[in-house]
């Protein structure tokens, strides 16, 4: 560094740790709340150190559920969220790698038309077409099904653009060498494109898993049964803003459980996460 003042170096560290503490505080508080009983929380007597009811509250949240607003245990909700997140991530990767392969490696009439049809979906987020989409899913009889949760969300331009961009970096000579080595489009895809795309697929997976797990508006609309609820919807339903009798300890345990999988994915697959984030936004 250009500066040599030794003391000057402590200030940035201090600032950063304060920043980290502020960012982490809401989550810490949620964790603390998830270890107390409802009365202590409701009376505002909760302290800053964890309470005694950690196991009991989490057991109740996961296996029993709240007594009032949602009767479904969080275990089921987590399973729903997991199925939805996996379905969206895997489905998106599968359909977008195929479409990108077609667009990059084949020459056919309406190739650019197909590309634009996919590309324009970037401009049609679910929020701008909520009710008509809802109606189609309802007409197809997909309300309260996993298919209804997943399928409408797996088509978007992001994945196709990402794979297209990656394919463009594969040297042309590799296709030519494959052709001379007797590989057709299928073998080239299986033996060369897929193995080379693993990092890109993993990066896309991380981003899409988080996207799927955190979905709110869509599952809110198309799930009516408690048994099909995702955990993010479940939390919201546990909290009745006007009602002092919200079971905050269970709501907070659920919040902690809802954060755990995506946060773990981000931290454990940090490198892929950053790659995915940077590349999907290009």
């Amino acid at each position: 560094m250009v500066e040599r003042r030794r003391l000057g170096n402590i200030v940035p560290h201090l600032v950063l740790w304060i920043g980290i503490a502020i960012v982490a505080f809401p989550v810490y508080l949620a964790f603390v709340a998830s270890t107390y009983d409802a009365t202590t929380i409701a009376n505002g007597q909760m302290g800053l150190a964890p309470g005694p009811l950690f196991l009991e509250n989490y057991y109740r949240a996961i296996f029993v559920g709240t007594s009032r607003s949602t009767r479904e245990p969080v275990g089921t909700m987590m399973l729903n969220s997991f199925v939805m997140a996996m379905g969206i991530a895997v489905g998106k990767i599968a359909i977008s790698i195929l479409s990108a392969y077609a667009i990059v490696y084949f020459k056919f009439p309406f190739r650019m038309t197909a590309f634009w049809i996919i590309f324009i979906t970037l401009m049609l987020p679910v929020e701008v077409r909520i009710y008509p989409t809802y109606k189609i899913v309802a007409d197809l009889g997909l309300l309260d099904t996993y298919a209804g949760l997943i399928v409408p969300l797996i088509a978007s331009a992001t994945g196709t653009l990402l794979f297209r961009q990656f394919f463009m970096t594969i040297p042309d000579e590799l296709v030519e060498a494959s052709k001379i080595d007797g590989a057709g489009f299928f073998r080239f895809f299986k033996d060369t494109v897929l193995p080379l795309s693993i990092t890109t697929m993993a990066a896309l997976f991380v981003i899409q898993f988080i996207y799927g797990w955190n979905q709110y508006l869509w599952p809110l609309l198309i799930t009516t049964k408690d048994s099909m609820q995702t955990i993010v919807i479940g939390i919201k339903k546990m909290i009745v803003t006007q009602d002092a009798l919200t079971e905050w300890q269970l709501a907070m345990a659920t919040a902690v459980l809802a954060m755990l999988p995506p946060v773990a994915v981000v931290i454990l697959m940090q490198r892929l996460f950053v790659k995915g984030l940077v590349e999907t936004e290009k």
């Binding site: 929380i41 049809i117 996919i118 401009m123 701008v128 931290i267």
Partner: protein, 293 residues
């Protein structure tokens, strides 16, 4: 755009494209065109008959003070979140950039809120600021502030802004840090030799070099506030109190669901579509420029 060496086949490329195109057409284009169609029609209360009404839904929309209010709310909300989260993130990123080795650790410790669902983030902040039992709310009351986001619109807006900002800092921090680390160290050293102090250096060298990142983040943040904060608003305030936190997107949702005004809701959707198209176009202008650099 395409490879020099390609495969020739009549059927295969269409088969490869079929799944994506089918889903796109059924769940994107059909509903979007439905929204456009509905925005020009009026449906009676029982949904039995529809009537073409031209631009009446739009005219009606723009005659409602609530619609202007939602626009204003959206503007305030997005400006507040963008400015707050960008400045906090930039400040932290500049601090972290100076710590060569520790920067990676700080990155890990600051980036995880990205993974928290907006609705969950909303619930976390709601809990802290819940008037009767929230830790922060009680603290504010001790200071003599009668904090109540359930009744006071400004308080509700503040809370929503805080939760949305909290979640967005991590994303902005990552991009700012990457932008800072991409600035050649020789430039900083050259300006130090030219006698510029740290503050002056930041404003005359670093900040201008960071401007493409900043511009990109502004667009991304505006898009984020428009669409991805739906969960936060629904979980924290439900658009209230008295529609004080009802953004354009939230209004589409509540008008269509609670009011049953499909034509009006559709007209709002169409306007939103134009906003997204405009934002995307701006984003692509930026990318184009980045490419030609």
């Amino acid at each position: 755009m395409q490879k020099r060496a390609v495969f020739g086949s009549r059927i295969v490329p269409y088969a490869l494209l079929a799944p994506q195109l089918a889903i796109t057409l059924v769940f994107f284009y059909w509903p979007a065109s439905q929204a456009v169609w509905q925005s020009f029609h009026l449906e009676d209360a029982f949904g039995l008959s529809t009537e073409f009404v031209g631009f009446e839904n739009y005219v009606h929309l723009f005659s409602q003070p609530e619609y202007y209010r939602a626009m204003w709310t959206t503007l305030v909300f997005s400006t507040a979140v963008t400015v707050l989260s960008l400045s906090v993130a930039l400040y932290l990123a500049v601090m972290a950039d100076k710590q060569l080795r520790a920067a990676a650790t700080y990155k890990t410790l600051l980036m995880w809120p990205y993974a928290v669902a907006p609705a969950v983030a909303g619930v976390l902040w709601l809990f802290m600021f819940q008037p009767s039992l929230g830790l922060v709310a009680r603290g504010l009351r001790l200071w003599g502030l009668d904090w109540n986001p359930l009744l006071n619109g400004t308080h509700a807006m503040t809370l929503v802004v805080l939760a949305a900002t909290w979640k967005q800092i991590s994303y902005n921090f990552l991009f700012f840090l990457a932008g800072l680390q991409a600035i050649p160290k020789s430039l900083i050293e050259a300006s130090a030799i030219d006698g510029a102090g740290p503050t002056r250096r930041f404003w005359t060298i670093i900040f201008p070099l960071l401007s493409p990142t900043t511009f990109f983040l502004i667009v991304v943040n505006v898009v984020y506030v428009f669409f991805d904060t739906f969960g936060i608003i629904d979980a924290v305030t439900g658009g209230g109190p008295a529609k004080a936190t009802e953004t354009l997107v939230y209004k589409v949702y509540s008008d269509g669901r609670l009011g049953g005004d499909l034509g009006g809701s559709a007209a709002q959707s169409v306007i939103l579509m134009f906003i997204v198209i405009a934002l995307t176009a701006i984003q692509f202008r930026y990318i184009e420029r980045k490419v030609t650099y």
